[in-house]
Structure formats: structure tokens, C-alpha cells
């Protein structure tokens, strides 16, 4: 159990829950990161943040601070 932030480049993880609140929570779920789906970390931006992930067949970028609120295993 950890957060999406800790998932290494190239690895895939299963989402267990979203701990963010308010609009950020809604946005994460609207973009398809919901409980039970799988997320693959593709790469990290040249300056170390944000990160790019593949979810539901498309590419999504999010900041590490946002990835921290996504619990995965």
C-alpha cells in the first residue's frame, strides 16, 4: 500500500482510493482515476515534476503532490 507518487517509472499500480478533497478529488475521478482501475507511470518531466501516467488508454499528466493523494497497491 502506498501512493501513486512512489510508483516507479514503467510500473503499473491498482488504485485503492482517493484521499484528496473538493475539486481536486472530483477532477482526479472525472479523468478516470477511480477505485479499482490500473495506472501506469510513463515518465517524469525534465525538471522532476509533474509526471505522466497512462490511465484508461490515454495519457494524463499530474503533479507529484496530486499523485500523493492517490492510494495504490
Amino acid at each position: 500500500m502506498g501512493t501513486l507518487r512512489e510508483v516507479a517509472c514503467g510500473d503499473t499500480a491498482k488504485v485503492m482510493g482517493i484521499s484528496a478533497r473538493g475539486s481536486m478529488r472530483k477532477r482526479i475521478m472525472d479523468m478516470g482515476i477511480t477505485k479499482g482501475c490500473t495506472v501506469t507511470v510513463r515518465r517524469i518531466a525534465p525538471l522532476g515534476d509533474p509526471m505522466e501516467v497512462t490511465v484508461r488508454g490515454y495519457e494524463l499528466s499530474l503533479r507529484k503532490s496530486e499523485a500523493e493523494s492517490i492510494e495504490v497497491e
Partner: protein, 709 residues
């Protein structure tokens, strides 16, 4: 007349489809209260109006785009919704569809990019998808123009039948709770929208709960029961259920397929473009190209030709000769030629450069690279409350602030866009270079350090303003998220690029043109006439000069208020910043001076100390930009009130910075200490406080105060 609404995700070809459906019959306006374009047009060959909703991923109540779309669907009940879905990215696109199906309005799904699916060897059975979604699905390609006729027929059919689609079913627990909530809501909301309100209330959607009034407690009780039963938050349950439902629907219509070819190509490009080592150099290269083409070469050739040849050699002398030949009154001639036509020139002269810039920006946006710019640069800019995309307006702003401000359009977050539009002109534009050259030449022996310092102050002002302004009420709010789609790369369509470019350019002319014309006319009038309405020989005896004399005391603390010429120069700078030097020439008795004003260097040196000169320079760099740029700002900020506030902020910051530089500089160099030295120290302390403090405007106190009353 049928009223149809076009809804869909960003980057799914919505603009292209809208253009295909409506042709040239488009009208562009604004949605109420926000600076988001509202486009509508007549559908070709049908008795129908199509309203283009902003590109959205969900009907959540958070972003202005989403709120505008929801309100339109719920309150203005269009006859039919055309929901465009990207066939290469079905799951996420159909998530929006699942919410649209709840609204209780006949819906047609336009399944776009079918050509790309076929090219990848894929296949989608629209009949199966249609039965899974419970609404008509038309396979098509907006880019290739396939399936447009069929779509138009489906739209009119759906509107005529008035058949409301069946909502997608959520899990047992969610459906049971939603139907209990709908019993509570019956009679309280319109019957057709009861499904929408029940499910949104189940998600604890604040805007939906607001409309349920005193029933909120009863509803939340049902929601909590479901949460205990499912051991999960209700919004998470509903989002997961929606995604399960649409992925079932998508799976029923497609065979199992691996990643599409378009996606793997995109991934390969991204591996290079956002690479740890190559990412930044490639970004710098692309930025250089944009700058080089729009500012250094093609764009400025066009604008120079427009100003120097078209207006300078043809229109103005031609018109003058013609009017004089017809022995028209000299005052009227001067008004037409120097006031009116020069004012038009100020608007139209920018157009070639703006066209070139917009073509480049639209291509970058359309092909998908713009999203990567935000991805690569986000880390740098977000510290200052700006978006990664704020870099482009600032870069373009070094050439000209007007297209620079217009380039802020590409920033999605309204807050970031407004802050960027307000601060872009702090960076010295090319018209400010003569002022820099004048001060550097007259007072600093032509040192290049003056120019360097000007750019550094400009950048510092932008970054500092980002920090300060995001704490201000209308610009504050939760830090904007950066959860952004990185769309697959694709070749931009020529027609879309062409149309978007014209649309953006025309918007500038329409929104900014009148103001620029009027403001230029006013300053021309003030600088050409004396108080008894006599045409003056030179600016020296005009009303503007008197105003400069009357106002110059304000600038005494900045070190250059003793000589009124500097105030007048600053005022004429509002017309165009390069006017500052020319005005000095006239005021010092030269009919014409070179661009950097070499003729007047000794006179300026006699009047100003170097530190006072630098303070004058800084004030002119940071204060209100030229009228053309203010007009562009008005276009981006939406209202005159916001524009006025922005100009006041710019002038205030310019005053503060010049005051601090002059007073503390004088203290350091000459050891002069006075009341103003103390004031400047206080102002410096205030600026530091505004930057450092978390809530300098006491916004949290005001917010809680608002709640109390």
C-alpha cells in the same frame, strides 16, 4: 427552429465538427460572467441553431467551463444534445456521455475520428454501441467530412421524436439510493431532470444540493446509509460505476484491441520531446522559432510594411495631399490624417504580426505540443502562481505586448490566464527599447547593463505579481490543479488553423479596436490643440503639455518630477512607447530626433542624475502599457472594471518600484535621507509583506464575514 447543443471533451475534434456543421454562419459571443467564447451558428441544410459548449470532461460544478455547460443544459433545455466522442479514446469520452444521458434531453452521439480507428485496423460497431448507450450513434470523421449528412439527419430526427434516452445504470446500491432520493425530490425539481438531480445529489454535488433546499438533510441521510453499506464515499462509488458502465458499453462495440497506433506514435514522440535531457533544449528551440518567425522576421516585416509603407507612404501622404488639394480646412485635415487614420493604423498595423503569431500558436495547440509545454515548464512557473503556458505570452511580449497578451488565451485556468494577461507587459517590448537606449546613452555611457537590468526588473515584476495577485480575492482560490490530458499528437487541419486564426484576430479588432481608436484620438486631440482650441505648432503649448506640468509634482519623489517634459513624455507613451523619445525631441526643440534620441543626450544628462534617469526608465517600463495593449487586456479580462484595476495595479507597482530605486539609490550614492526615503522603505517593506504573507488582503476574514451576513 431546433436548438441543439454541441458537447464534448477538449481535443476530440469539436471545433472542426462545429465548423463543418455550421459553415460560415457563426456568431461568437461570451458566456455570461466569464471570458469563455460562446459560439453559435445555423446547421447547414437544417432549420437548427447549434450552440457550441466549452470543451469539458465532466459536468462537475468546479470549473467555469463546466458550470456554464451545466447551466445551459439544465436551464435553457436545448431540443437535442450532440455529444461528440473521440472513437480512439472511448472510455473517458463516454464518461461525459453517461452524465449527459442523465439530463433528460434527446441525445445524438457523434462518434468522431472513425478514420483513425480504421487506419489502426480497429472497428467499432455503432449499432451495438447505440443499443448499449440507449441513444443514436453516428460514426463519422469531422476532419475528412465523413458522416456529416447522416449526423445532421440524426439531429433533426432526434429533436422531432423528442425521445429522451435511458440513463446508464449504476451499481445496485447506487441505483437504490438514487431512486430513494428521487422520491424525496419529486415535485421539487422539473420531472425530466429528476434523474440528474438524484444522482448529482447522491454524489454530494454542492450546486445540485443547493437547489434541493430544506430537503438536504433527508437526502444526505440516504447518502450516508449507502456509504456505510458500500464502505466508500458516494462520489467515488458513482464515478466508478459510471466508468464501469461506459467501459462495458465500449467493450460491447469493439473487439479486444491493443494500444492504437496513434497512441504508440505519440508515445515515441513524447519519449524525445519530454526527455530528461532533450526536453528543455527542444522547448527552447520551438520557442526560438515562434519568436523568430513572429517577432524577428515574417511577422514584423508584415507589421513594418503596414506601418511604414501602407500607412506611412501610401495612405497618410495620399490622404493628406488629396485633402489639401481639395482645400479642406487644415484642422479637419489634421484630424482625419493624424488623428483618425493614425488611430486606425495603431489597430491594423498589429494585424500582420498577430496573424503570424496566431497561426503558430494554433498549430502548436492543435498538434498537441502546447500541452507538453505546460508539462515541461510547470515546475518553474507554478511557484509564482502562473501556468507553465505563461511562458509564451511573456516571450512574445518581449517583441510586442499586444500579441503577447492575446497569447494568454491558450491558458486553460481562468485565474492563471487573467494574471498572465495583467503582467505580460512588464517585460520590455521592442517599442520600449528606444527609451532604454536613451537613458543608457545619455546617463550610463551606453552600458548594456541598463538593458539587462530592464529585462531582469521586468521578469521580477511578473513573478512577484504572480505571487501577490493570486492572493487577491477574484484571483484567489484553491491552487489550480494540474491534472491535464496529454492529447495524442496529430497533424493540424489547415481549415481549422485558418479559421481559428481569423477568429482570434477578428476578436482583437472587435474588442480592442474601438478603444484604441478613441484613446489615440483623445491623446492626439490633447497634444494638438491649446485650451482655446487653436491648432498648436508643437506639443509644448498643447493641452497635454499643461496637463504634464500640472501632474509633474507627483513624480518629484521619483526623481524626475522637476522637469515637466518627462511627465509629458510618459503621457504620450500611452499612444505607443516609442513616442516617448520622439516627444522629448519636440519638447527640447528638435523637429525630429533619431530613434535613441542622440541629439538630446546632453540635455537629458544635464537634467537627471543617473539614478533619477533609471527611475524614469523603470516607471515607463512598468506603468500602464500603450492603449493598444490596454485594449488587448480588456479583451482578455472581459470587463472595463477588471481592466481598470489591472492598469491601476501596473501604475501602482511602477510608482513603488521607481520610488524605492530612486530613494534608496540616492541614500546609497549621495547619502540623502528625507521623508521620502522613509516612505520608500515603508513601501519596500509592504511589498515584501505582500509577497511573504499568506493572506495579506485578509481574504479569509472577508470570506467568513460574507458567510456571517
Amino acid at each position: 427552429m431546433i436548438r441543439a447543443a454541441l458537447a464534448g471533451n477538449p481535443n476530440c475534434g469539436k471545433t472542426t465538427l462545429f465548423n463543418k456543421l455550421t459553415g460560415s454562419s457563426q456568431r461568437v459571443g461570451n458566456w455570461p460572467g466569464v471570458t469563455i467564447d460562446r459560439k453559435e451558428g445555423r446547421i447547414k441544410g437544417a432549420d437548427a441553431i447549434l450552440v457550441d459548449l466549452p470543451g469539458i470532461y465532466s459536468l462537475s460544478p468546479y470549473s467555469p467551463e463546466e458550470i456554464v455547460s451545466r447551466d445551459f443544459l439544465l436551464d435553457e433545455s436545448p431540443d437535442v444534445i450532440v455529444n461528440i466522442v473521440d472513437a480512439t479514446n472511448m472510455e473517458r469520452n463516454l464518461y461525459l456521455t453517461s452524465q449527459i444521458l442523465d439530463v433528460g434531453i434527446p441525445t445524438v452521439v457523434a462518434l468522431n475520428m472513425m478514420d483513425a480507428v480504421r487506419k489502426d485496423g480497429g472497428e467499432i460497431d455503432t449499432v451495438k454501441l447505440s443499443s448499449a448507450l440507449g441513444c443514436r450513434v453516428v460514426g463519422m470523421s469531422a476532419l475528412k467530412g465523413e458522416g456529416i449528412e447522416e449526423l445532421i439527419a440524426a439531429i433533426t430526427e432526434a429533436a422531432a421524436s423528442g425521445k429522451v434516452p435511458e440513463p446508464l445504470r449504476l451499481s445496485e446500491a447506487a441505483e437504490a439510493s438514487a431512486s430513494r432520493i428521487s422520491e424525496v425530490l419529486r415535485g421539487k425539481v422539473p420531472d425530466g431532470q429528476i434523474r440528474w438531480y438524484s444522482v448529482k445529489a447522491l454524489e454530494r454535488d454542492p450546486l445540485a444540493l443547493e437547489r434541493t433546499g430544506d430537503l438536504e438533510g433527508e437526502i444526505l441521510h440516504i447518502v450516508e446509509e449507502m456509504e456505510r453499506e458500500t464502505d466508500d464515499d458516494s462520489d467515488s462509488v458513482v464515478a466508478s460505476d459510471r466508468y464501469s458502465a461506459v467501459s462495458r458499453a465500449a467493450a460491447s462495440s469493439t473487439g479486444k484491441r491493443g494500444a492504437s497506433k496513434g497512441r504508440t506514435t505519440s508515445d515515441r514522440i513524447d519519449r524525445i520531446v519530454t526527455d530528461r535531457w532533450l526536453g528543455l533544449p527542444i522547448f527552447a528551440g520551438v520557442m526560438f522559432l515562434v519568436y523568430y518567425i513572429s517577432i524577428s522576421t515574417i511577422g514584423s516585416w508584415g507589421t513594418d510594411w503596414m506601418n511604414d509603407v501602407f500607412f506611412g507612404e501610401w495612405i497618410i501622404p495620399g490622404m493628406r495631399a488629396w485633402l489639401e488639394g481639395a482645400s479642406v480646412d487644415p484642422v479637419l485635415t489634421a484630424f482625419i490624417v493624424d488623428g483618425l487614420i493614425a488611430g486606425f493604423g495603431a489597430v491594423i498595423g498589429f494585424l500582420p504580426q498577430m496573424l503570424v503569431l496566431f497561426v503558430l500558436l494554433v498549430i502548436l495547440e492543435d498538434c498537441g505540443y502546447m500541452a507538453r509545454i505546460a508539462f515541461v515548464m510547470d515546475r518553474v512557473f507554478r511557484r509564482f502562481g502562473l501556468s507553465g503556458k505563461s511562458f509564451i505570452p511573456v516571450l512574445i511580449g518581449t517583441g510586442c505586448g499586444v500579441p503577447g497578451i492575446m497569447a494568454s488565451r491558450t491558458i486553460e485556468s481562468e485565474r492563471d490566464r487573467r494574471i498572465t494577461a495583467m503582467t505580460t507587459t512588464f517585460i520590455p517590448c521592442s517599442a520600449k527599447l528606444p527609451v532604454i537606449a536613451l537613458i543608457a546613452g545619455a546617463l550610463f555611457g551606453g552600458s548594456a547593463l541598463v538593458a539587462l537590468a530592464s529585462y531582469l526588473v521586468g521578469i521580477a515584476a511578473i513573478l512577484m505579481s504572480g505571487i501577490i495577485l493570486k492572493k487577491w480575492k477574484s484571483l484567489a482560490g484553491a491552487p489550480s490543479e494540474f491534472i491535464m490530458e496529454l492529447p495524442a499528437y496529430h497533424m493540424p487541419g489547415a481549415v481549422t488553423v485558418f479559421r481559428s486564426t481569423l477568429e482570434k484576430t477578428w476578436a482583437f479588432v472587435r474588442k480592442a479596436g474601438t478603444f484604441i481608436l478613441l484613446a489615440c484620438g483623445l491623446v492626439w486631440f490633447l497634444s494638438t490643440f491649446s485650451w482655446n482650441m487653436v491648432l498648436v505648432e508643437d506639443v509644448n503649448t498643447s493641452m497635454l503639455a499643461d496637463m504634464g506640468r500640472a501632474l509633474s509634482w507627483m513624480f518629484v519623489p521619483l526623481g524626475w518630477g522637476g522637469d515637466w517634459q518627462f511627465t509629458v513624455g510618459t503621457l504620450t507613451g500611452l499612444l505607443a512607447k516609442e513616442n516617448v523619445v520622439g516627444t522629448f525631441g519636440v519638447l527640447f526643440g528638435f523637429s525630429e530626433v533619431s530613434e535613441a534620441g542622440e541629439e538630446i543626450w546632453t540635455m537629458v544628462a544635464a537634467m537627471l542624475t543617473p539614478i533619477a534617469g533609471f527611475s524614469f526608465l523603470l516607471f515607463n517600463l512598468l506603468c500602464a502599457p500603450c492603449f493598444a495593449a490596454i485594449g488587448a487586456m480588456r479583451r482578455e479580462l472581459g470587463t472595463w472594471k477588471a481592466t481598470g484595476a489591472a492598469v491601476l495595479y501596473q501604475c501602482g507597482l511602477a510608482y513603488a518600484v521607481s520610488l524605492i530605486v530612486f530613494q534608496i539609490g540616492s541614500l546609497a550614492i549621495y547619502g540623502t535621507f528625507g521623508v521620502w526615503t522613509a516612505v520608500s522603505l515603508a513601501v519596500a517593506a509592504l511589498l515584501v509583506y505582500l509577497v511573504v504573507s499568506n493572506d495579506p488582503f485578509r481574504m479569509s476574514a472577508r470570506r467568513s464575514g460574507e458567510v456571517a451576513c
